[in-house]
């Protein structure tokens, strides 16, 4: 973890209530896809933990959804705004165990960290496919970007307005060597029950600090108590108690 300053280099709406923010600053502490940053906002006591969509050199991208006053403030931030950020938080995804044809499953905002994960897996010579699930066509983001990397990307929407009607589990291919999942817990639980391979699951929680001090986001696992912010957010299928 490092405390640093990022400068807003871009901030645009990409889907219903969903924004992509480009940040400029030192990203050297982002060492794995699936890590997050924790942003201090003026007038808000707790920082806002947001997963990293992509990071390289001095450019970092996050995708966030406006769900309350803090993210609403973020949506109005202009280019040049300086942000006090704790960067490089959480464990991130482990790509070494993926096999040759990993599958990425993103539900809603859970699609955000999948881009950097796909890039890393592809750089390692793996053939990646993905299923992103959303409520409706207006919520869809990130699919073209993923396809541009060469990822075979399917979409599922609950109301059937884009892609397959249903959930990510309704769009899953038959063959894959490993599953990476991020999204709402009911979605991840359905994935957990369906996959026959190993997998990793990235969790969300209300956090106090984001770096392991307050024990605000503890959960019970097969291997004992874990802090979502520090020991996670990524847990393996084997350690989850579902």
């Amino acid at each position: 973890m490092v405390k640093t300053v990022y400068t807003v280099a871009g901030n645009e709406k990409i889907a219903r209530d969903v924004y992509r923010m480009e940040l400029c600053g030192d990203t050297s502490m982002i060492t794995a896809p699936g890590q997050f940053i924790n942003i201090a906002l003026e007038g808000k006591y707790l920082r806002r933990p947001i997963s990293v969509h992509d990071a390289s050199g001095d450019a970092l991208t996050i995708i966030y959804k406006v769900v309350g006053g803090g993210t609403e403030d973020m949506s109005r931030m202009a280019k040049g705004t300086r942000l006090d950020v704790l960067s490089g938080l959480g464990n991130g995804f482990d790509t070494s165990v993926s096999g040759d044809t990993p599958l990425l499953l993103g539900g809603g905002l859970g699609a955000a960290p999948m881009y950097m994960l796909a890039k890393k897996l592809i750089a390692e010579g793996k053939r990646v496919s993905a299923v992103f699930g959303f409520a409706s066509a207006d919520d869809v983001f990130g699919t073209d970007e993923l396809r541009s990397l060469g990822v075979d990307t399917a979409v599922a929407t609950v109301d059937g307005t884009a892609g397959v009607r249903g959930f990510v589990t309704d769009g899953m291919p038959e063959e894959y060597t490993y599953a990476y999942s991020c999204g709402p817990e009911p979605m991840m639980k359905a994935v957990y029950k369906k996959i026959k391979t190993g997998g990793q699951f990235s969790f969300e929680a209300r956090m106090g600090c984001g770096f392991g001090a307050c024990l605000g986001c503890s959960c019970k696992t097969v291997t004992g108590c874990k802090r979502i912010c520090r020991d996670g957010p990524v847990l393996t299928k084997e350690e989850i108690l579902w």
Partner: protein, 305 residues
């Protein structure tokens, strides 16, 4: 002129290089913060509240945001005193080389005494901080420290099993905090720390239900500073014991204010969670703040208001 001793204070017979003490529950066992800065610059710190048995704590969500503060409902999550001795203290001692404050929780006088006894042989422990004020472990936020008799029983039980200084941590959620402080003093306490968190709650307007799974939790952060300052002022005048003042402290100016109110040392809690460097920054800012207000040695201002 640089005076390296101008920040020192004496807390129950042990000298602190400066009055800054990260508060229990916001600093773990120190080793995680040691990744960010050398924690030996601290006066000391109060380690994560430890109980006889392991505790997972309360269901999630445990955290809610407030204006200028936060609510936590962690519920004394800790691995239990024997695991703390076996694994946490050895890791702590690798990075922290000063006497540490051992924060102890419990559910009966016997349990407090058991945990203090178990820890008493640890040379690294300088003080015990007896938490009789956690709002997160009994239904409805009730605390042992809301009753003079119960306070006296716990302090007496602990006093009987250790010769180390016993500091009793009080709750602000009482009618007369000075009365509880006097009960702790009468039972043999060596110091008082305060305040623990204020009992509070938030409601999620989308779900129309409490944010915190346990409904209520402990409110802390800059919003509670005036309440904490008032309690420190009252208690430091009611007892003849040193007081560790805490509650919303976020700056060197807050530290000076707390000490003027009567604190000998100053705890910093929620600020560590928003900014892991909060205590380092406060310590570094103190000399200039003393200069600004014409203070030579910080110990001279204790209770001066």
């Amino acid at each position: 002129m640089v005076n390296p001793g101008r920040l020192t204070v004496d807390l129950c017979g042990i000298e602190l290089d400066n009055p800054i003490i990260p508060a229990s529950g916001t600093f773990g066992f120190g080793y995680e913060f040691a990744e960010y800065y050398d924690i030996n610059i601290l006066g000391t710190f109060s380690f994560k509240g430890t109980t006889k048995e392991p505790r997972f704590g309360n269901p999630l969500p445990r955290i809610a945001e407030c204006t200028a503060g936060m609510i936590n409902s962690v519920g004394l999550q800790n691995p239990g005193v024997h695991e703390v001795i076996a694994h946490e203290l050895p890791r702590m001692k690798e990075v922290f080389h000063k006497p540490v404050m051992a924060n102890v929780g419990g559910f009966s006088p016997e349990e407090y005494a058991y945990t203090v006894s178990a820890l008493d042989g640890e040379d690294s422990i300088g003080w015990f901080e007896i938490n009789i004020s956690c709002p997160n472990v009994h239904a409805g936020g009730a605390v042992t420290g809301s009753d003079c008799r119960a306070t006296g029983e716990v302090v007496g039980a602990v006093r009987a099993v250790t010769k180390k200084p016993v500091i009793v941590k009080l709750s602000p959620n009482v009618t007369d905090i000075a009365e509880i402080a006097r009960a702790a003093e009468a039972a043999g306490a060596d110091g008082i720390s305060l305040i623990n968190t204020l009992l509070g709650m938030r409601i999620d307007l989308r779900r129309k239900k409490p944010v915190i799974a346990n409904v209520m939790g402990g409110f802390s952060g800059p919003a509670v500073f005036p309440v904490a300052l008032r309690c420190v002022y009252q208690v430091s005048r009611a007892v003849g014991l040193p007081v560790v003042g805490m509650g919303g402290v976020s700056s060197a100016e807050d530290v000076i204010e707390m000490m003027l109110a009567g604190a000998t040392a100053v705890g910093v809690g929620a600020a560590n969670l928003r900014d892991p460097y909060a205590c380092r920054d406060i310590i570094e800012a103190l000399p200039a703040a003393l200069d600004k207000y014409g203070i030579n040695e910080i110990k001279d201002i204790i209770g001066g208001a």
